[in-house]
Amino acid sequence: MSNRRNKLNWLNTYAVVYMVFLYAPVVLLPIFAFNSSTIIAFPLSGFTTEWFGVLWTTDALHSAVRNSLLVAVSAATISTVLGLFAARAVARYSFPLERGIMGLIMLPLVLPEIIIAVALLIVLIQLGLSLSLWTVVLGHVLICTPFSIAVLGSAFRGLDPSMEEASFDLGETRWGTFRRVTFPLVLPGVISSLLITFTISLDEFIIAFFLTGTDVTLPVYIWSQMRFPAKLPSIMALGTILLGLTVALLILAEIFRRRSATRRGLDASTTEGLV
């Protein structure tokens, strides 16, 4: 069995190297955020929290954060609500042109974002709408909805259709059934959909870059600051904060998913929710 042992060793090493590759950029983020030099390079010159301080006093950054939060919350909410109805419809009913319509909705998932951005820009110009944060929201809803549908679709597929029928059979109305049975049962899916779409929207650059008016979102702001080498350390600090927040959010989402899986008597260690 030494053959097998060798192969395993080889694979183990590869896995470690690969993880280093995956994490290399991310690990650098906090290192340079606390490095006192303005030049982003080794060797490190000393420890400082100055760059975090700078963030507190940059007004443009604050408004970019506000804009981004507004956009991300709106896009996450709208796409999750849309995803909820679409996923429910697909899971329960078959309707004419179902595949075509679903294909259309899922299309943004496989299109390069630049093309979505261009297409939306053209449509908006055509309609004579002026660019604002709301046009960004529109764009983000377009790219987030497929993710919502994918996440919620699997939540609905895991739902025994006789649950809804049982509620209906016990005298509850359709809306009451949705409120008392369907929604609580797909709630973990709704929450992960909200988290995922929120994160996607928060991070999205190209569509925001094309579609925004004078109000910029955070990625667009970061992009504009990258031209100034002096601003780089504070961008690193900003990135570190964002990284901390997203990781916390993800861990929270995972904990929540496991808890609800246990509550439903499923095996919490399954990978179902992740893939």
């Binding site: 509620s167 016990l170 609580p184 439903r264």
Partner: protein, 370 residues
Amino acid sequence: MRDTENPQARTIIALNAVTKSFGAVQALKGITANIREGEFFSLLGPSGCGKTTLLRMIAGFDEPTTGTIAIDGKPMAGIAANHRPTNMVFQSYAIFPHLSVADNVGYGLKKRRLPKAEYRREVEQALEMVDLGGYGPRAAHTLSGGQRQRVALARALIMKPKVVLLDEPLSALDKKLRDQMQLELRQLQRSVGITFILVTHDQEEALIMSDRIAVMFDGQIEQLATPEDLYRRPVNQRVASFIGVMNFLGAQVSGSDENQVSLDVQALGRIDIPRAGLPEGMKPEDIHRVGVRPEMMTILIDSATTAERIIEGEVVETSYYGDMTYYAVRLIGLEEPVTISMRNTAGRAVLRPGEIARVGFATDSIILFR
């Protein structure tokens, strides 16, 4: 049996020429039947014969393609499931996993806005009825299969429906629990007096529990009768072989007069049947086959015992079941062995394959088929 005591009992569900098509598939091809108030009624048939489809239409989850369903005299067309006086126990039980046992049972009552104390009392009563007193605060997902089944039942009964519909409620349970639940369910139905309609593909279950059984094949009811009638007087070979075991033997009419019909039966020889023994609507020339149940034939071990008629055969196979022994016996003049069952009473020997058996039977236990 109540229905034989009172065959004129009120009709609670009237099915009239009900059909259902799913695209090209015709799942139900015209079902007409009256289900009586307070009876335990079973829909029995092989997988795919349309039992679930019919039950779901009574519940209101689907509408018939043609034909009508009336519950308690009221036509049900256009009335959705939440407005029908029926409640369902699902095959998967459909217990709401996010609610406690009490909230599951009280789910439908919530809509009725009862005072809190009354609501609680009703829920506790329903739980006690299914032997789950005190289980109210438990989380639903911690229950065992049998307990889930009881919760589903309590959840339906608490609504005081006119009809409870059960779709293979016992199929998910293991054999022992299933046997126990069959009896409990039967007793519960007796004590509440509500009409139960049970869907099952297990003939034994249907025979044990039901007042009347509708045997379905391919979207049609082949026979609707009491368990005893079904077993003793199946209308055709399909029903006969679905309910219990039946040995079929070819038969020819050799003569008939106004009193009796003479048959020439494979292996059994000449058998005379009184005219009155012919099933309704059957003419002598229709008879092409007869059936004998395994327990209607006896292997005469002791040479002293006799029977009305005796034939001989060779034991091909012996299956020992503890209380019973099943023999496959090749009768003289017959290719296919017949099945004979014998109770293993004290001191009765069990024959081995290869031994010659004397087989006795009574001519009045013969069932006639077309």
